[in-house]
Structures are given as structure tokens and as C-alpha cells.
């Protein structure tokens, strides 16, 4: 809204909430400040298991998982401007591939990761490639349909996936002889994944490929006229975004030891997208904030039980009307 056009002079003049926001943004514009805050957050994250309860660790582990998922979807929606309503499907492919390879075929968890990621890419290309030329709202519905198809396939192929009741008995991986079976182990793993995802997103965003994604997002025709192969560029955003979700899925399967199709239903895709939009598309810090908010919200509102999704819907509408750019949006100057 009005906070969108804060030039230097306007920053000084504005007071109240908008003023605070401008000052915060100015603070984070400095690369050193950003790195310092990021390092402090990682340090704090490393110390939490010493003081936090298992409940706290569980919640934080979930929010780290969500950070990875959000950053993956952010590449597709935020950078490349492609709407995707079936993103949970790639999370599912990663998790199911790992689950099936380790439990049914007895593979070592770490060896199962590369083929799981390969499957994720294959599914992504099958779903993504034919739809790349579609208008954005058609794309939304096709990705939604495709996401549901993956879930229904997981439910119906009982011999391979365990059907509706899901896959159980996924092996716990071990690292340097230590079996990873504590919540704190997974806390550290997902913390590392989240940090890695932030790091990777930052490097990709400020690279030749990252810029190409944004060119295509801003104006496809102009991008094409500048010599950018829009189909290849979009496909690369699809694949890299899906890889984030696939990797998260691998570790999710190991953490849960049991997965079922319902984890990956449409609602999951929507939740990830909503976290991305609420956080502020195209902004890495926004993804972290959005993911945390999305995981913490139901915990904070545990009291109101089933009403919380209702409240959530309301927040979404109000947010879109009054602050459509998200909590921590991209580019303010």
C-alpha cells in the first residue's frame, strides 16, 4: 500500500508502523546486517535443543521443513511467476521414493536420495513440460489437478505405496554409525536443510539463471526478444523448485518412518503457497517469516480447534485486501 514508495526522504518523514518498517528495511538493505542477523539466528537455532522441550523441537523442526518447501515454491511462484497449486506432489514423490526404496527394497537411506531426486525431476517434467505455454490461471488449475493425481495414484497403487493407510516401517538412517532416531537429530538435520535452502536461494536469485526467471516473470515477450528461451527457463525453475521439495520429502520420510497420501493432499499445497504469499513472494526473509507463521499459527490457536482454519481464511482475505505484497515483501525502493 502506501509503504510501497518509500524513497529516502519519505522514510525520514513517516512515523508509526510504516516508519518502523522503513527503518527495518533500510537496516536489512545492508548486506553485513543481513549476514549478522542470519548468523545470529543460526547460532540461536543450534542452541535451542539444550533448553527446548521435545514439543518445541518438534514445532521448530516442522517450521524448518516448511522453510525448505516455501523456498522451493518461491523459486517457481516468486521468481519465475508460475502459479503452482500442486507443489506438495513433489514433496510426496521425494518421500514416497525414499520410503519405498528403503522399506520395500532395503536400500540405504543415503543411497536412496539420488534416485528419489531423479524421480522428483521426472515427475516434475512430465507435469510441467506440457503446461508451460498455458495462461497463468490455467496453469493453476492444471497443477492442482496434477497434484491431486499424484495423491490418488499413491492411494490406488496399493502394492507399492500401501494405499490409503500409507507406507510404514521406513528405516531410520544413520550418520557416522549413529542411528538418527531422536527428535533432536532431525531438528539439526532440518535446520541444516533450511540453512542450505536459504543459501542456495540467495545464490540462485543473484545469478544469471535467477535473473532470467525474473525477466520471464516480468515480461515473457520482452525476455524472449532478449534472447532468453522462456520454455527452458521456466522448466529450470520448475525443476529446481521441485528438487527443494523432493529433498525435504526424503528427510521427512526418514523422520516420520510412516507416510500416507493424506499428508500430501491439496490442502498441503495450498498451505505452502499461502505461506509464500503471506511471507512476501520473491523475498527469502519473507519465506522464513511466512513458513514460521504458518507452522506456529495452528499451535498458538490450538485452543480454538477446528475454527482456526476459518480464522485463517479470514486472515488471508484481509491480508490480500490490505497488504497484498506480504509481510516482508521484495524490493521497496
Amino acid at each position: 500500500m502506501a509503504a510501497n514508495d518509500g524513497s529516502g526522504a519519505a522514510v525520514a518523514r513517516r512515523t508509526g508502523l510504516a516508519g518502523v518498517e522503513d527503518r527495518l528495511a533500510a537496516f536489512f538493505d545492508d548486506r553485513r546486517h543481513r549476514y549478522a542477523v542470519f548468523a545470529a539466528l543460526i547460532l540461536a537455532g543450534l542452541l535451542v535443543p539444550r533448553v527446548g522441550s521435545n514439543y518445541t523441537l518438534e514445532i521448530l523442526t516442522n517450521s524448518f521443513l516448511y522453510i525448505v518447501l516455501c523456498l522451493g515454491l518461491n523459486i517457481i511462484v516468486g521468481y519465475a511467476g508460475l502459479l503452482d497449486l500442486g507443489f506438495a506432489a513433489f514433496f510426496a514423490v521425494g518421500a514416497y521414493s525414499t520410503g519405498i526404496l528403503t522399506s520395500t527394497f532395503g536400500w540405504n537411506f543415503w543411497l536412496a536420495i539420488p534416485p528419489a531426486l531423479l524421480f522428483t525431476v521426472i515427475v516434475r517434467v512430465i507435469i510441467g513440460a506440457p503446461t508451460l505455454r498455458l495462461r497463468s490461471d490455467y496453469l493453476a488449475i492444471v497443477t492442482l489437478g496434477a497434484g491431486e493425481m499424484i495423491r490418488i495414484i499413491a492411494r490406488n497403487m496399493k502394492d507399492l505405496t500401501g494405499g490409503a493407510s500409507g507406507l510404514i516401517g521406513i528405516q531410520r538412517p544413520s550418520l557416522f554409525g549413529l542411528e538418527l532416531n531422536q527428535i533432536s537429530h532431525y531438528y539439526y538435520i532440518f535446520l541444516a536443510l533450511a540453512v542450505l535452502a536459504v543459501f542456495a536461494s540467495d545464490r540462485l536469485e543473484h545469478s544469471r539463471l535467477g535473473r532470467a526467471w525474473k525477466y520471464v516473470r516480468d515480461d515473457e515477450d520482452a525476455a524472449e526478444a532478449m534472447g532468453i528461451d522462456r520454455v527452458a527457463v521456466k522448466l529450470s525453475a520448475y525443476i529446481i523448485g521441485a528438487l527443494f521439495a523432493g529433498l525435504a520429502g526424503c528427510f521427512y520420510a526418514a523422520k516420520m518412518t510412516a507416510i500416507s497420501p493424506e499428508t500430501f493432499q491439496f490442502m498441503q499445497s495450498i498451505m505452502i503457497l499461502v505461506a509464500v504469499v503471506l511471507g512476501g513472494m520473491g523475498k527469502i526473509a519473507g519465506m522464513v517469516v511466512g513458513a514460521m507463521a504458518m507452522v506456529l499459527f495452528p499451535e498458538v490457536f490450538r485452543e480454538i480447534g477446528s475454527m482456526r482454519m476459518l480464522v485463517f481464511g479470514l486472515i488471508l482475505i484481509v491480508m490480500m485486501i490490505f497488504r497484498p505484497q506480504g509481510i516482508w515483501p521484495d524490493r521497496r525502493h
Binding site: 488449475i141 479470514l314 490480500m320 497484498p324
Partner: protein, 304 residues
């Protein structure tokens, strides 16, 4: 059952399924045609319509009975109430965002969907509600197959609604305004058309048609639940795209065709009912890839 019976039975099934798809698809198509919004909450509007009809019937049953009289009255009440609900949603959630990026308004529609879905879920504690009517199973018999009067009446009612809608769009000044706005909203504003009013009217009509489908589905299947709108929302969208989104006869045709394809498709042993939804989505993807403008849509000249 021989092949003839199977075919006849499936034609009957196609018609009824296609009617529901077409009625819901019309709402999608009209709203998309006029403000280019993929109204995500439309499936939930259908669901809410069913519940309003259910509530109306349980209140009216003492006066009008649970036969066609009571059902018709509930249907009309539900259409009106749901129509106003659609207008209210449009006024509060969508109108402020008409000039915002497409993604914002789409997310808003998802918010509305969540809101409706969860409100009904909370109100019904997530239970199925039996939509009890006194219609029974009498009907016409053709050899081994049986077609109930309920089925016949529902299909006829759908046909009636479609004829009424076609007349409304083609013969009234409001219908003309709707068509004009879908071509150029700003020009319409300049010509003195009350654009907001016409958009509101579009939402009213679209939502009322979805409510009619919802009540009919309740009558036909005998039970309703809070998540009944999700899958049909997707299917109806498929139907709308199939026929050519934004084109009224296209939505009707698309709905009926999708109903037919699904009814016959699931008869093929290698597809089976549990793969029904995969079949429809697969079909949607194929249509969008090979004929993105739909059956009745004109091919746009590819230009910058």
C-alpha cells in the same frame, strides 16, 4: 446386463452427472468471462447451497411436505440465499481487488473457500447430513434398467434453468451488459454502464445456479457433507475449460460431455471407479495442451 443396457444406463448417468457439472461450470465461466477471476470458492458455494437447501427443507417439511413441492420451494429459497451470499462475497472480498494482480485475487478466493468450507465443517461437526426426501424410487423401466422420476425431473429442471439463462443473457439488457463488460470493462464504464452492479448480478446468477446444482445433488445422492464442493469444483472447472471458458453454451456442452466421458470412461475395466478422478484431471491436462481455447472457443491469433 448386455451392452445395450449398459449404454442406456450410462446415458442416464451421464445426463445427470453432466447436469451438475454444467450448472456449476456456468458459474465459473460467467465469473471468469466478466472479471477473469478463477473463482476458487465456487465449489464451496455449491456446497453451501446444498446446506441452505437442506436447512430450508427441514424447516418447510411441516408445511409443504418432503415431496416435489417442498423440494422446489427449498431449491428456490437456496438459490436466492446463495445468490446473495455470492454477491456479498464479491462485494467484500473481490471488489477491492479488481485492479490488483491476478494472484492476489486468486489467493483471496482461496481464503473465501477456506472460510466457507471450515464454517460449514464447524457447524456440522464434520458429519454427513442425510438429505431425506419422500421421492422414492419409482420410475420408468426399460428392460433391465431403471430410470427414476427423480432423475428425469432433475435433468428437466437443469434444462429449464439453462434455457432461462440463455434467454437472460441474450434477450435482456443486463445480459447484453455482461457480454459487453467481458469484452471491455473500461469502455463500458465510459458508456455509463453500472459495471459493479452487473458484476454483482453475475455473481448472483452464477451462485444461484451452483446452489441449484447443490440442492439437486443432495436430493439425488441422499446425503451432503462439507467437502462435497471440492472435487466438483475442479470437475466443473474442467468442464468450463473444455467447452471454452467465458462462453455460456460452452460450459453447458462441456459439463454434459465431461459427464458422459466420465460415466463411460469408468465402465472401461482398465479405468475403474477409483481412477475416475485421475481420468478427469488427465483429460483436463490433455484439453489444455491440445485445445486451450476449448471446444467452442475461437482460436486466438498468436500475437504480442
Amino acid at each position: 446386463m448386455d451392452l445395450f443396457d449398459i449404454v442406456t444406463q450410462q446415458i442416464a448417468n451421464s445426463l445427470i452427472l453432466g447436469s451438475f457439472y454444467a450448472l456449476v461450470a456456468l458459474g465459473y465461466s460467467m465469473v471468469y468471462g466478466i472479471i477473469k477471476l478463477l473463482n476458487f470458492a465456487h465449489g464451496d458455494i455449491y456446497m453451501v447451497g446444498a446446506f441452505i437447501g437442506f436447512t430450508a427443507l427441514s424447516l418447510l417439511v411441516g408445511f409443504l411436505g418432503d415431496g416435489w413441492l417442498g423440494i422446489s420451494a427449498s431449491l428456490i429459497l437456496s438459490m436466492i440465499a446463495t445468490g446473495f451470499l455470492g454477491v456479498g462475497i464479491q462485494r467484500l472480498a473481490y471488489r477491492p481487488l479488481l485492479s490488483a494482480p491476478r494472484l492476489s485475487i486468486l489467493i483471496t478466493a482461496m481464503g473465501v473457500s477456506l472460510l466457507l468450507f471450515n464454517t460449514v465443517m464447524a457447524a456440522t461437526i464434520g458429519e454427513y447430513k442425510a438429505f431425506e426426501t419422500g421421492l422414492g424410487f419409482e420410475g420408468l423401466d426399460f428392460g433391465n434398467i431403471h430410470i427414476s422420476y427423480t432423475q428425469i425431473v432433475l435433468v428437466l429442471a437443469t434444462a429449464l434453468l439453462m434455457v432461462a439463462l440463455t434467454l437472460f443473457i441474450n434477450k435482456t439488457i443486463y445480459g447484453k451488459a455482461m457480454r459487453a463488460i467481458s469484452i471491455d470493462m473500461d469502455a463500458c464504464r465510459l458508456m455509463g454502464i453500472d459495471v459493479n452492479k452487473v458484476i454483482a448480478l453475475t455473481f448472483f446468477v452464477g451462485s444461484a445456479l451452483a446452489a441449484a446444482a447443490g440442492v439437486m445433488a443432495g436430493v439425488y445422492y441422499g446425503s451432503i457433507h462439507f467437502f462435497m464442493g471440492f472435487i466438483i469444483g475442479l470437475k466443473a472447472f474442467t468442464a468450463a475449460v473444455f467447452g471454452g471458458i467465458g462462453i455460456i453454451p460452452g460450459a453447458m456442452l462441456g459439463g454434459l460431455l465431461l459427464g458422459t466421458l466420465e460415466s463411460f470412461g469408468t465402465q472401461l475395466s482398465w479405468i475403474g471407479t477409483e481412477w475416475k478422478d485421475v481420468f478427469s484431471f488427465g483429460l483436463l491436462i490433455l484439453i489444455l495442451v491440445f485445445k486451450p481455447n476449448g471446444l467452442m472457443g475461437r482460436t486466438e491469433i498468436e500475437r504480442m
